[in-house]
Structure formats: structure tokens, C-alpha cells
Amino acid sequence: MSPSPDVRLSRGLAFRLAFCILTSATLIFTAAFAYYYQSSKAMILAGVRENAKNLLRGAVYRIEAPLSGIERIPRFLARGLARELPPAEDLERSLQDFLQTNPDVFGTAAAFEPGVFAGQSRFAPYYCRRGDAVVRVPLGYEDYYQLENWYLIPKELGRPVWSEPYFDEAGGDIVMTTFSVPIMRAEDDTTAVLGVVTADVSLDWLRRQVAKISLYHSGYAFLISRGGTYVSHPDNRLLMRESIFSLAEASSSPLLRAIGRRMIQGEEGFARLPDFILGKPAWLAFAPMPVTGWSMGVIVPEDELFADLRKLGREVAILGGAGFTVLLLVIAFIAATITRPLSRLAATAAQIARGNLDTPVPVASGSDEVGALSRSFEQMRLALRDYIADLTATTKAKERLESELKIARTIQMSFLPKKFPPFPEINAFSLHADLVPAWEVGGDLYDFFLIGPGRLLVLVGDVSGKGVPAALFMAVTKTLVKGIAEQESDPAEILTKVNRELCVDNESMLFVTMFLGILDFTTGQLTFSNAGHNPPARIAPDGTVSWLALPRGLFLGVMEDSVYRTATVTLAPGEKLVAFTDGVTEAMNPGLELFGADRLHDALAQAAALSPQALDEAVMQAVNAFAGEAEQADDITVLTLLYHHADEA
């Protein structure tokens, strides 16, 4: 018995069950979770996008509202100057007043084209704050202010302009932007630009404002100018120096450049930033600043954006893990309840298979399949036990019978003379007989003995029926013949008497065929009689085979008054007489053909020259060869008598 089957059963079934269910559950759970996670991510992103848009719009408004307020006075001044140029003192007082009444403004100037103001080649009074005071300071490069952006660009564009932010070193390293309004006078068809009125705004407070804007923890806001230059950024090193495009170039990031282009083109949007910006995945929301033409961006790291989702994801994963553990336990429990009775059943089955039929089958409670199987198994065990008990008894009986039958056969066979040559002192004849019993007893018999001087009685018979009765009947017959032959010497008389004896109380209605002959071996004269037996063969000394003509006679043991006759032939010296039972001619091959008289005739013809013993063996061999694999159905008996010569007696 190889590896114990009960172990493999329980582990295999429970494992497969658990594995299949858990795998399916995992797949379903993972797919559902992934879908949920991605959907949530998209929803959160959409929410953040909306949130950021609102936050940015608010921030843009907060920062730009004061700037648009500042625009009013330079516009007002420029319009007045366009109509009429006041005396220098009045203009300068207006500028001072403007500065004093507008704390948000850092400095202001009115700069004129050469020769426009009182014929002066340059006139550009500039006032700015020094601490709490408002002072007039020289621009420092009167020769060249026409080329400064705050002057040149509004003049050339013919409209007010917020300049790109720039550092002002004199103002104390502050970033400023200048709002410049061109002074435009319409004369005839053309419009002449007389100069520019400006208002400088420190962007320091703006930077603080921007610094306050944040989304989540480490998100931050920044401003870029129309040209993409950083106007406000937590990293001061970038201010005024780097642009979003120079960063893109330094990092070879077309993505960042594309984002920068969208920003400076005044788009509002939401974009995924390249990782190098924060060193991790991040998103950027941006919105245009309509007053200045700048753009504001808010950067939010993705991990913070999705921090809640990730936390939830972790919790769901933990819950899922716990669920799986519970599921595993439940499955293990179910698998165990199913497989434990099965294992016990298997163990019992193994016991039963070893022949231990008294091992009771554990009966599983419940009406499930396992219970039904257990009950069926128990019924089977009981039926098997009864059957085996029956079988044992039957087998014993059969064995006993067979054993008795064997003993019977042995006894029967011991009746037959087995000693050859039987009469070594007599040279007048040779004699040999052979009987091969079939498995089922047929009851063939042969016998020979001397009766009186010079006379030999030979007989070959065949009892009808099978088994012990036939054997007993044969023994009786043989004994009768022997007994009667001591008083009678005529074969017909012997048969008549034997028949009469056999008929007495033959209730089983068995009968015997028999050929009985008496050879006077001094003369070669053979007297013989027949009781329903098949005719023996004569083999002349020259080898010619012929059938001995028998007188008719009914088989022995059936009719009390049957009549038997004696016939006589004289055997030539060297002639053989072969008597046999129908076991020879009725031997069948696997094709159910009979051996028949013709084949026997041929076999005898071929073996004609042989000694009696060899001839018997040759006949036996011929029959065996013919029968092949077919089972021998009847006893086979061959008896051969060779008459040598009367002188030999």
C-alpha cells in the first residue's frame, strides 16, 4: 500500500477548494479594488482641479485687485497731461500727492520725450519712498530712459502696460513692476506720444501673498511673467533669473516647456508636471492674471493629493487581508467538515480492503452526500461481509467435495491394472492399456486377466454419466465382470450376467457400454461380445486397419433381459486389436469438430508398426494434437493387444 491515501485526499481536496475559492476571490477583489482606486483617483483629481481653479481665481483676484486700483491715477494724470502740460511744480506736486495718498505705490514718474516739456531735452521727475518719506531721486540715466522697457514699450505700443518685473537695487533689493501710461495727444490725424506716466509697485507684498497660497502641505504657488520668468517662487534663486523655459531647457523637458507655453499664452489649466520639479510626481494648476498678463501656478505633490485615497486604500487592503483570513478559516473549516468524514471513510475503506470487514463504517451525521456515502458504504460492508461468509462456507463445501472426488478417482484408478507388461512370462501376446481421465469423471474402465490356461480376457468399457456415481458404477461393473468371469467363459454369457446384476436396484439408471473379448492365445482365436460399445480396430500384420464387426447388444444395466451374442475371429500372428472408448472419437478441437473414426483410422495406420505401448501413446498424442487448447471432455482409454504367435504360448 503506497502513500497513505487518506492524507492525500484530505490535503488535496481542502487545498484545491481553498486555493480555487481564494484565487477567484482575490482576482475579483483586486479587479474591483483597482477599478475603485482608479475611479477615485480620477474623481479626486477632478475635485482638486476644480478646487485649484477656484483657489487660483480667488488668489489672482486678491493679488490683482490692488494693482487695478493703482492703474487709475496714472491714467488720470496721463489724460490730464495729454490735454495740457502744467508748470513743472504742479506736475511734481501731483506726483508727490499720488505717492502720499497711495501707500501701495513705491514710486512714480512722468517722463517726457525730448523737447516736449518746456523745451527740455530730458524731463523726467521721479519720486519714490525712502523709508516713510517721499523723495525726488534722479533716474540715474536720463540720457537713456527712452530705452527702458517702462518707457519704450508703452510708448511704442500706444497703450498702458505693466512691465516685466525687475529688481530695483536703489529701492532696497526689491522686485518691482511698473505700470506705465503713455501720454497721447491727438493732433490732426496723428497721435503723438508726449511721454509716459508711471507707477512702480513693489512686489514684495505680492510675494508674501503668493507665499500664503498653498494646497495641501508642501504644495506651493508661483508666478511667472509674460516671458515665463519667475516673478514669485519659494526658491529665491529662481526669481528674475530663471524662466520656466530655462528650467525646461536645463532639464531637457519638452513637457515643462509645453506647460510654460500654455501658461504664458493665458490658458487656465491643470497638468501633470515632470518629476524633477519636486523630485516626485506632482500636478500643476495654473491660471492667467489678466491685469498684468502674468500667470499663476500652484504645484501639488501627487502623494499628498492622493494621501487620503492611499490611506483608504491601505485600510481597504487591511480589511481585505482580514477578510481573506476569515475566508480562509471558513473554507478550511468547511473543507475539514467535508473531508474529515471522507478521510475516516477512506481509512475504513482501507481497513475493509485489507479484509477487515468487521470495522464499522463511521456514520456521518446529516443528510448530505457524505452521509449518504457513509450509509451506502456501511450497507456495502455488511453485504460484502455476508457474501464473503457465504462464499467461505460454499468454498469449504466445494473443497471438501473436490477432495472427496479426488480420493474417489484415486480409488477408481487404483482398480485399473497398471503394470506393463502384465504377464512377463507369457510371450504369445503383448498388451498395453492407457486411460487419461478428464477433469470430470467419466468412468471409463478397462481390465484384463487370465482365465484358465491359455486364455486372456480383455475388456474396455465406458460408464454413462459423471462423477462419483459413475465411478462407483464402474467399480461395481468391473468387480462383477471379474467375479462372473471366474464361472463363465463365454463373453456373451458374462455380459448377460453382469447386465442382470447391474439392473438390480439400478435406480440411478446408470449404464455401461463394454467390449469384452477372450483370446485363446494358443490358437489366436478371439471370442468377443459387445454391449453398445464402439467397435475396436484390427491392424493386420501388413498394417491394414479395419474395424472389428461387433454383434449387436444393448448397454449394460438398463434392461434386465437384454440379449448378448458372442462372435469369433482368429487373429493372425502379428495382428493387433485396438479397443478404445468414445473419448477418442468424440474428442473435440476448439472449432468443435470431432476427432472421428477417420482421423483415428489414419492415426492407427501411421502407427501400425509400433509396439502396443508406443501405439497407445501415438493415439493419445494424435488426439491431444487435434484437441489443442480445447478442454478434454471425457476420459480417453486405448487398449492394444498384439497377438504374436500360438507357438509362443
Partner: protein
């Protein structure tokens, strides 16, 4: 709003002080260094990397010169500073130098560093400008007289009538659509425009060099008087400047560090990427096989001078021998 002078005073007082301190110790050991000043034609940037590197690596000191590099810019034209005697050395475009000399400032060329033109006119394709003819009748911003000769020659050659608008220190006017085209140096404004978010495909770039106006640009100059009176000083400054340029091209990262230190000191709104681009472009313009570093070929000089004469910017061409002092 304050630029120029205020900034100038701050920075240069500090720098001068530092140099004075640094060089005083060196001067004590050897013979006294000759003081001199060099004025580049623009604010600190990689265009003048060779001079800044020579200064930082002590090449001028090695030549016995206590050189001060003044801060250039629109308010500090080298012609004025040389005329005033504030500076002894200055850098000029060859065209400017020839015109200045024709106008009476006796400049001599000590070394020609940029033998080719890197001057461009840049326009937007979106404005329908593809060929020079498309500029006709448009507004074009040009720098001051010292830098506009080649572009004006370009207009005349192409028979264009354009409205010229003064170009300031940035290309903002162009970026805001105030002009259809603006002047640009390949090493500077071109990159500034790209870094203001315009893609190269969106631009039409007219290179003066491609339109038969490959006029040499930056060169080192002094006055005839200085060259005559102190040839040692002139040779020393020239040699050191050449060495500075060679060193800068061989060690671009170090050169950029030095340039950026000047940029930072001047609070200029530029960045390292831009200066890196500039240095690379300047190197490309300066290191051509035909023109060994620092040489001014007679042929180039004659071509440039004749071009100026033909467009009427000068009436007489100065002698090459008088204009150019051979390399030491």
C-alpha cells in the same frame, strides 16, 4: 526704476576695492602693476568670458597689469569711456570701430575675436514674414547706432523701407508685438526669445552673415595714443585676453562659474543656461579654422570698410596698417 549709475557705483566701488586689496599684495612683491581699465560694450555676460576669465585666473597680473573690467551697458558706451580716459581698453564691433575712427576717435584694433557676424533679425512666421521682402513697411526695432550698421545695410541691399524703432535692453517690445522684427545676437537675444516661450519653428531668422554681411564683430581696441605711449601695457592686455579666451574655451564650466559671479554681482536677470548657450555660440563664432584667434585678416577688414563706405556710413577707409596693431 533705478538702473545704470546707481548700480554701477555700488558694484564697482566694491569690486575696485577688492581688486585693490588683492593686487596690492602681489604688487608689493614684484614691480608695481600698471593700472588700466577695460570696458566691454555690454553688461557682464559670456560674450566677454575671455576677459573675466583672464582677470580671475590672474593672466593680467602676470602681464604686469592691474586691470579693472568696468561694467558695460547701454549707459556706458566704450567710445565715450575711451574718449573720457575712464577706460584704456574697450571692445567694439569692427563696423563700430571703423565708423568711430572715421568720426575722429583714433581706435586701433589689438585683436579681432569674433571674425564673423552673429547678428540676426528675428520675426514671427505668424506675422507672415518668411523672406526679407516681407519686412517692407514693417516696424523693426534696432539697437543704437553702434550696432545697427549691418542691419541697415541689409535693408538697403534688399530695398526695404522699414520703420525703425529703438530697441531697448530686452526683446520685450518684440515679444509683446510692438514690432514685427527685432535685432538679435545669435548668442543672446535669439536664445532669450526661445526662452520666452517661442519655438524656433515659429520664428523667421535672417542672419546677416547669410545675406552677404558677414561683418566681423567683437574686437579689443585701444587708442592710438595708448598704443604708442605704452606698448608693453597694450601687448600685456592683449596677450592676457587671448590666454583668457583660450582658457575659457578649454574650461567652459569654470568659465561659466566666473561669468555667473559677475552676473550675480550685477543682479542681472539672466541664468546659467542662457550663459552656457552664449558661451557655446561665441566659441563657435570665434574658433574658425580660417581665422586664428585674435587675428584680423586684411581682406575682412577691407571688405567691412568698403561695405560701410558703399552704404555711405563712412566716406574714407582708414589704412589697415594704421588701424590694426599686429599680435604681440
Amino acid at each position: 526704476m533705478l538702473r545704470g549709475k546707481w548700480r554701477y557705483y555700488h558694484v564697482w566701488t566694491i569690486l575696485a576695492g577688492l581688486f585693490a586689496l588683492a593686487l596690492a599684495s602681489a604688487a608689493c612683491a614684484a614691480e608695481p602693476l600698471k593700472k588700466a581699465a577695460l570696458i566691454p560694450q555690454w553688461e557682464p555676460q559670456a560674450q566677454f568670458a575671455g576677459y573675466y576669465v583672464a582677470l580671475a585666473k590672474g593672466f593680467y597680473t602676470r602681464e604686469g597689469v592691474d586691470l579693472t573690467i568696468l561694467r558695460g551697458g547701454p549707459g556706458q558706451p566704450p567710445s565715450r569711456l575711451l574718449r573720457q580716459g575712464t577706460a584704456q581698453f574697450g571692445t567694439f564691433f569692427l563696423t563700430t570701430a571703423i565708423e568711430e575712427r572715421a568720426a575722429g576717435l583714433p581706435l586701433v584694433n589689438l585683436a579681432q575675436f569674433v571674425p564673423h557676424s552673429t547678428l540676426l533679425l528675428i520675426a514671427r512666421k505668424a506675422d507672415g514674414i518668411q523672406a526679407p521682402a516681407d519686412l517692407d513697411g514693417r516696424r523693426v526695432s534696432l539697437w543704437g547706432p553702434e550696432f545697427r550698421m549691418a542691419t541697415q545695410a541689409f535693408f538697403r541691399r534688399n530695398g526695404l523701407r522699414v520703420t525703425t524703432v529703438p530697441q531697448g535692453f530686452t526683446v520685450d517690445l518684440f515679444l509683446r508685438g510692438g514690432v514685427a522684427a527685432c535685432s538679435a545676437m545669435r548668442y543672446n537675444e535669439y536664445h532669450a526669445i526661445i526662452n520666452a516661450g517661442l519655438d524656433p519653428e515659429e520664428l523667421t531668422v535672417f542672419s546677416m552673415a547669410d545675406h552677404g554681411l558677414d561683418l566681423p564683430e567683437d574686437g579689443l581696441y585701444t587708442l592710438e595714443e595708448t598704443a604708442r605711449n605704452d606698448p608693453e601695457l597694450v601687448r600685456g592686455v592683449t596677450r592676457a585676453s587671448l590666454a583668457g579666451w583660450r582658457y575659457a574655451f578649454a574650461h567652459p564650466d569654470e568659465a561659466l562659474d566666473i561669468v555667473m559671479s559677475h552676473v550675480s554681482a550685477a543682479h542681472l536677470p539672466t541664468n546659467r543656461m542662457h550663459q552656457q548657450w552664449m558661451l557655446a555660440q561665441i566659441k563657435q563664432a570665434m574658433t574658425s579654422e580660417a581665422d586664428p584667434l585674435g587675428t584680423l585678416a586684411r581682406e575682412r577688414y577691407e571688405t567691412t570698410a568698403q561695405a560701410l563706405r558703399r552704404v555711405g556710413l563712412i566716406t574714407a577707409v582708414p589704412e589697415y596698417e594704421a588701424f590694426h596693431v599686429p599680435l604681440p
